[in-house]
């Protein structure tokens, strides 16, 4: 018996040992995927690629930007009247920003809107006003707000600039939470408030606005984007996992946009319905006006917050079209640019419009909410768009950001249009993340983007609640600089100091009736390569950029050919236009060089 038990114990022990050995297999050697394309450390690939390529690929230019706002006299912080625990939504939207040469001295000046005490603007501190900064031409700015007469107390949102009375001086339209304002430029450095006379004082909560000739009668009309029906009566505070914050657009109804038709005598008539600018559930944030199908007639794209976007195009004329039929119709759904490719409404704050993929048709880039991707709509022609956010890598660069203002520009003059995005959340300081870094996205020339922010300078590592962005070559050195409006922090002026060693071509278009030639486009050909930039009015978020064109020419000292397609149907063609300067092109005339020494 003992012998049997011993036998059993030995056998049992051996079995256990064998089982342990069986369970603890030696680790197999790591096996390669049976593909020629193994994937290396994917998590850091993007940054590795951008950083590595910066150092190793001589053709990739390292971006350099520096915040010079305080150095040049732009010391402005938007007053948003945030009252603790109130969470009144206009507080978190930010203010408008616009570049304009208001005094026609050839230097771009800067206008920024400001908030005020609400609901009692009279309690606003006296130094909290809309600000106009004159560019002195020596790299600095001078505050001329009070002298100019635009220093009003209003809860400022956006700004749109145009010469609506064709007197040669740019006028200003300010959108507000509260009645909007129209200021006519007297031509002597001052402005007059003509809101009442003009009939453009929409009391709704307005955000973006764009001037363009909607009825093709030769003067500037005004499209005003309206946001929400919000007042203190229906205002409320929302909870996010038990933490109080701002309610989003879903908590309020929309207000319809406006289209003010210029009557030519200083008065405007609201004609949105009559012209067909009608869309459902429009909670508008931004508007961009641009010709998308090459017929020289502008389309109007409206970005709506958590609602389908609008794309208005002119109905094609036909002999059978009744006179009462609206001129414009909304085709965003059919066009594939109302919602994301997966049918989801998106937050849609800022718009940038440019030919990102080099196929000579303008595409759209929209900024969206945190943990939503930004969207790049590729223009396929015939007013058809495809959500190319995955293929363009826009989705990958944006999920952890809340985007607002955005600018499309060629920062490195490699003939591909890049993107800048200002980021910042909207739920309030009690919820994280709130402040975010801006982004610089480099286009590889095929419409694919890499985030190169890490190499672009210290200003890209500083977090802020970024809002509007307006781009301009304020220092006349042939590259675009960026003015960024922030909440709770001073305005930022990112001067572009990128040392490209490359050439540029600057173009300024002018029509005889002073109407911005939106609907037109400029085509620059260099070494057989064509670059097409359409005339775009509006875009970004609550902002207005320099209307001049900047084309990167790489190592070509001149453009072989420049073609200007005017909305009138005229095409002007110029050969061998030298680079590294701006050219002013008046419709039908030869280009004239704009001689101005850049600020060192």
């Amino acid at each position: 018996m003992d012998f049997a038990k011993l036998f059993i114990v030995i056998v049992t022990g051996l079995s256990i040992l064998a089982g342990c050995l069986e369970e603890r297999k030696p680790e197999s050697a790591p096996s390669e995927f049976s593909t020629s394309q193994d994937f290396p450390s994917l998590a850091s690939e993007r940054y590795q690629q951008s950083v590595t390529d910066q150092g190793q690929d001589p053709n990739l230019i390292r971006p350099r930007f520096a915040d010079v706002a305080s150095d040049v006299g732009l010391t402005f912080t938007y007053f948003n009247n945030a009252v603790p625990e109130r969470f009144f939504l206009p507080e978190v939207m930010g203010g408008g920003i616009a570049w304009l040469d208001f005094n026609n001295d050839g230097w771009l000046d800067l206008l920024v809107t400001n908030g005020c005490c609400w609901p009692d603007p009279e309690r606003t501190p006296s130094d909290v006003i809309t600000r106009l900064y004159r560019n002195k031409g020596d790299g600095s700015f001078e505050d001329v707000s009070l002298a100019a007469g635009v220093g009003l107390k209003q809860f400022g949102q956006g700004v749109a600039v145009a010469d609506f009375n064709a007197d040669g001086f740019l006028d200003i339209y300010l959108t507000n939470y509260g009645p909007n304002r129209l200021f006519v430029n007297r031509g002597d450095g001052t402005f007059a408030d003509v809101t009442e006379l003009s009939g453009t004082g929409d009391p709704s909560w307005s955000t973006g606005a764009s001037w363009f000739d909607a009825d093709r009668d030769g003067d500037e009309d005004l499209y005003v984007v309206n946001y929400l029906d919000l007042s203190f009566e229906n205002h409320r505070v929302c909870q996010y996992n038990g933490i109080a914050g701002y309610c989003g657009p879903g908590s309020f109804s929309e207000t319809p946009d406006r289209l003010y038709l210029n009557q030519g005598d200083g008065q405007f008539v609201e004609s949105s319905t009559a012209l067909g600018f009608v869309g459902e559930n429009g909670k508008g944030m931004s508007v961009a006006v641009v010709d998308l199908d090459g017929d020289l007639l502008p389309e109007v794209y409206v970005a709506n917050d958590m609602a389908a976007n609008f794309l208005f195009t002119r109905s094609r004329t036909s002999p059978d079209r009744p006179a009462t039929q609206p001129i414009y119709r909304n085709i965003a759904v059919d066009g594939g640019c109302a919602v994301s490719g997966a049918g989801q409404v998106e937050a849609s704050m800022g718009i940038a419009c440019a030919d990102f993929d080099g196929d000579e048709t303008p595409d759209f880039f929209l900024t969206h909410f945190y943990s939503q991707k930004n969207t790049l709509y590729r223009n396929l022609g015939n007013l058809q768009f495809h959500d190319d956010s995955f293929g363009s890598r826009i989705a990958a660069t944006s999920m952890m950001f809340n985007g607002f203002g955005t600018i499309a520009f060629d920062f490195d003059r490699d003939e591909a249009i890049d993107l800048f995005v200002a980021n910042g959340h909207v739920l309030g300081p009690n919820l994280q993340p709130n402040e975010m870094t801006p982004q610089l996205l480099r286009n590889d020339g095929r419409g694919r983007f890499d985030d190169v922010s890490a190499t672009a300078g210290a200003c890209f590592t500083e977090k802020a609640v970024g809002r509007g962005v307006a781009g301009a070559d304020y220092d006349e050195d042939g590259d675009l600089d960026l003015a960024v409006a922030n909440l709770h922090r001073p305005l930022t002026l990112l001067r572009n100091e990128t040392d490209t060693g490359r050439h540029y071509l600057g173009i300024q278009l002018r029509t005889r009736n002073r109407v911005v030639p939106v609907g037109g486009r400029v085509v620059v050909t260099t070494r057989g390569r064509r670059q097409v930039q359409p005339v775009v009015v509006g875009g970004s978020y609550l902002a207005m950029s320099d209307t001049r064109f900047l084309f990167g020419l790489k190592d070509a000292a001149e453009a072989d050919k420049v073609e200007v397609y005017w909305p009138s149907g005229r095409v002007d063609v110029f050969a061998q236009l030298p680079g590294d300067r701006y050219w002013m092109i008046l419709e039908g005339d030869e280009p004239r060089p704009v001689i101005r020494e850049p600020i060192p």
Binding site: S28, P30, S31, F33, S34, T35, S36, Q37, F39, S41, L42, A43, E45, R46, N241, G242, V333, D334, G336, V339, G341, A342, G343, Q344, Y370, S371, Q372, K373, L380, Q384, H386, D387, D388, F390, G391, S392, R393, I394, A395, A396, M399, M400, R448
Partner: protein, 418 residues
Amino acid sequence: MPDTSISKSKHRQRRVVIGFALLLLAVISAVKWLDRSERLAAKSCLTRNQWKEARARLSRLLWWHPSDASVRMMLAEAYARDDSLPSRSSAERAVALLKDIPDDVAESAEARIREARLRFLLLRQPIQAERILQRAMVIDPKAMDAHSLHWRILDMTGRSDLCEPIFQQLYELSPPQQRIDYLRDWFFSQNDPEHITARLDEMLGFRNSPDESARRLELKRLIAFRQSEPNEPLIHAAIARWFQDEGDLEQALHVVNEVRSIPQVMNDPLFVFALVSVLIESGRLEQAAAAFDQWPGLSEGYAYWKTAGLLQENLHRNYGAASVAYAKSLAIWPGHADWRCQFRQATCLALSGQKELADVTRQHAIEVQQMFRPDHRKRLQQALLAPHETPNRDVILEFYRTLRRPDEAKYWQQITEQ
């Protein structure tokens, strides 16, 4: 005189043999009686939750009968149900006992199910549990407990998409009065999984406070599963998809990258699906296509065709081919509810010149999308509480008819008209 001594000797021998036989019989009877008594005593201990004593008795029995499946199962129960023992080690002991029960005995299916349950609930090894359940279902295809547990495991590991065959099986096998429970389970599993997973998360010990969000619990749970089964690509895939759904593509990429060294990781279609999906969303389309080319097994199924469609649309820009692939995907559950994919199909139809079909498809996508709005989902949840009331039944039927799911609509109609 010699004849008498020989017969006496034979007579004595006969008595010895008979006596020995009787003794042997007595011993055997005694042993059998003891054995039976011991089993009864052990069962009685189990009934009265006297685990330690039960283990003592059953251990002795097992020493005598090492291949007795019922003794093993009882001993395993005595370990698993004893709360005074550390749960992990007792579960491991129980599993060790159960796994030695061969598949060709009467108790084998039940043994597999118990082992799977222990692995899942106590050892947090859902994938191993699933493999064991699959053995149980081969042994006894009608073992409802096995199917039910398998369903739960799929729900808890981010694979609710695969539950339809199980639901159908359970529905067919269950008695009529139980079918409504499975119909409800099916709805919640597919449309409101927190309803199902909340209870299990609590049982598994993941919920530390009542305020914990379902999303955080899901991540906690998946990470715990990964700790227990670090070499299972499925769990890594589920975690990657969690981060992807949260918009954190960097982290999702990191997770799929971590499993490079696991042998045969690309043999798992769900892992390949997760990998390709993350690569597509992060713009690495060529890499996604290369990974997709290695799709293991049959080139079919909702996930396969959806991925094929995404690549055709975003990489090859062949919108016609994309719409065909999407159509195949959408014909397989959960394609009927995948309104995002339906929108993609509509876009691709439009871009390939099929405008009328695109319009119809888009309209249907909008209708399905409406079914998943928060307010509508609330109405459905309320309706499921009292489905026999006509308005509630109509809400439920409308849902499944909009999704073009006639089977579910028929089932609900039958149930609620009884």
